[in-house]
Amino acid sequence: MNHESKLPALVPPRNTTARPYPGPRPTPPDDLDRAIAALRQALEAEVGRPRLKPGTAHSQRPDRRPDWRAGSDLPRHSPDSAQRPLPQNTAQNSGPALDRPLLARRVTVLHFPRFSMERWLRAAQRRGEEFPDDLAIALAVEGAHGPVIHATNRAAEQQGVQIGSRVVDMRALCPDLHLDFADTRADLAALDRLVLWARRWCPWTARDGDRGIVMDTTGSDHLLGGEAAMLREIEERLSALGLSSTLAVAPTHGAAWALARFGTAREICAAPDLPQRMARLPVKALRLTGDTVLLLQRLGLKTVGDLAAVPRLSLARRFSRAPLAENPLLRLDQMMGRLAEPISAPEDPPRFAVRSRLAEPVQDPTAWLPDLCLELCGGMAAAGYGARRLRVTVYRTDGEVSWAEVATARPSRDASHLRRLFDGKLDRIDPGFGFDLITLSATVVEKLQTIQTRLDRQADDGAELGKLVDRLTARLGGGALRMPTARSSHIPERAENWTAATAEAPPPVHDAPSERPLRLFDHPEEVRVLYAVPEGPPAQFVWRRLTFKVSRFAGPERVAPEWWADLPGTRLRDYYRVETHIGRRIWLYRDGVLGDGRGDIPRWFVHGVFA
């Protein structure tokens, strides 16, 4: 039994006089009167202070943005109010005087009830996997006692699969459950991208939890024909992205959050209706933790109205030390607009683009590229960024647009290097009748600090190598340049990982435990072999229509298949290092042994060549 449930239930008092409830330490009445008087004085002093009008911050924002902007990492705060300190449990019956400027804002909350699942379904669709609608699908995350359900689709929900319960229990409930693991980090990244995408409706958007977006749409709804039309458009566009959403507009973040989850479809709540509308919602709508909601329900406070009817003083004393997420009084104040909750919107990612407007149409953009590169690199240097991907776009006189794109192995703002990457790429641009506008934009940028790696005026090898990798990749394509790295495996062809080349290569691991050839064939070549005994070394073999006599040999070295990676019927290999009569050293293997039950007479292959 929880110790909190032993507390006496709070009964909403009939009269409004604040009476301290009989707790273990009753407050003397004269102390209480003194405290109330001091608070009232403080409040009057605060209300009397001049306050920033909500419109002023908007008017300070520049209308036209420059072509490049570098974002500071500090979050922007919506022009809500002068940042007031969070009041600490104002123990007053009526609370602070109703703050009109706070209630004058319009806040929209988008809630995505099935965000992870819909992302996963889209990714599966892109891979070509189709799932019927009635198949129960669930995504799991690792919990304290094994995996727990993180997201479900509608079919799984109808069969009783609950979010937060353990996977083994839900498997027992629904044996056909199709299960996969959720990628919560990618979900958050996708939501962050969606936050930037939502800037089409208003400039202040921020992530709200792990499946929601909050937007300050004050004054921007009329651009879309009013709030109802705006909500309809948002919902349509989100469903075109494959996301189901529930939305609401309310004067405060808390109220919009509650209505998006517990209200009707696309609900709009005006400021005067706020107390009545909120009173009917359950206490769960207050953004409290599960334990606090349970506690409130045990205290008999089922709805927000019940909670609002409790004297502030009792709530303030009960939850004096609780943090925000467990404090019903602060959450209630936020919902009712008595407590400011500015939306802290992240800065836009920096964009770098320069353009060159030509007096008359030309056919070849090469001559303009050096100046464009210089200008772009100047902008990136001023902001401390380097380009990973560049795009030259030409706008033809007949309205067509074509472009060429290059990528770099590491961020760079070296103008001559970036220009050289376009060598040969611009020939593929179809100029048509000529073009009169060229833009050069860095589509992917990364932070690039100015570093000095050496003191002796020598070049930094990594930077030089990165430039070489860029040039080779730009001309030969990304697949041509590879880099082998050692990997722990007994199978010779799996002991190397051929990955895309980067400038930062891992050091070579050279601990050759046994004799290995210096050349390996991509596909082992079959040879015809003469041998004295089937399990023994070859005496003579025919490879590429030439007959080789084996003069010396070493082996066999037996390499067993990797049971965790190979198919069940894979045979073991016996490798022989042989030297032929003309002095060439070759690596041969016999695929399996006679009588291993995995095939006929074993075949022989040449797999490599020694020095």
Binding site: R413, D414, Q452, A459, K467, A486, R577
Partner: protein, 233 residues
């Protein structure tokens, strides 16, 4: 931004320094230049091991193969290389791309060497192309090795031209039936700075050693015209 790379030597600088250093012997082992290695047999590991043994392991090496070389002779295998290398491997389909890649890479001072494998006698690999490679290699101090398979030693500006083949190996001291330390027959048939000659080469912990014969009766050594001497690089 990074500090700028050192200014590459112009061909004039190279020639001037060579004039100053009349004793070419001091420069022989350290001068980075273009060398070609031929082989009688198309599939033989000896020319590769010979070239790799000349490279330094402290910097990465760019290894270019054309498609035919890769299909016929396989790809480099890290665990078996005589020197532990960091490899950047490029597969190209045309010999012109191979030459362009080598030329680009020779301008990068971060590389320890550039190794190209060409199959046959492509028309683009002529005297001019090899001269460009040689000058660029000397100007930037990056050694270049061209491994020629199924090719004829036509006109070329490579400063050193080798013909390397496998010889029967030394006996393994632990196992009489097994092949031991490999031996190669190296024939320097054209060189700009030293006498051509023929050697039996082996590569062990101490590096490459060139000898005019081995003390083993069954190894056939080509007749030599110069006085027997031992040379170690």
């Amino acid at each position: 931004m990074h500090s700028a790379p050192p200014r590459p030597k112009t061909p004039t600088d190279v020639l001037r320094s060579r004039l100053r250093d009349t004793a070419m012997t001091a420069e022989r082992g350290t001068q980075a230049t273009l060398a070609e290695v031929f082989s009688e047999q198309a599939v033989d590991g000896a020319p590769i091991a010979f070239a790799v043994a000349h490279l330094r392991a402290d910097k990465p090496v760019l290894w270019v193969q054309d498609r035919m070389s890769r299909r016929e002779t396989g790809r480099p295998y890290l665990a078996g290389l005589p020197v532990p290398l960091r490899i950047l491997h490029v597969t190209v389909s045309k010999p012109a791309d191979l030459l362009w890649t080598m030329e680009e890479a020779l301008g990068c001072p971060a590389l320890g060497g550039v190794l190209g494998e060409v199959w046959g006698d492509p028309a683009v690999l002529d005297f001019t192309a090899t001269k460009r490679l040689a000058l660029r290699s000397e100007a930037h101090g990056v050694p270049a090795w061209l491994i020629r398979r199924a090719a004829h030693p036509n006109l070329s500006a490579a400063r050193e031209r080798w013909r390397v083949d496998s010889l029967p190996s030394l006996p393994d001291p632990d196992d009489q039936r097994a092949p031991g330390l490999p031996l190669w027959q190296a024939d320097l048939f054209r060189s700009r700075w030293r006498q051509p000659g023929q050697w039996v080469v082996r590569h062990d912990q101490d590096g490459l050693s060139f000898e005019h014969g081995v003390d083993r009766p069954d190894v056939s050594v080509a007749p030599h015209d110069t006085a027997p001497q031992s040379l170690r690089i």
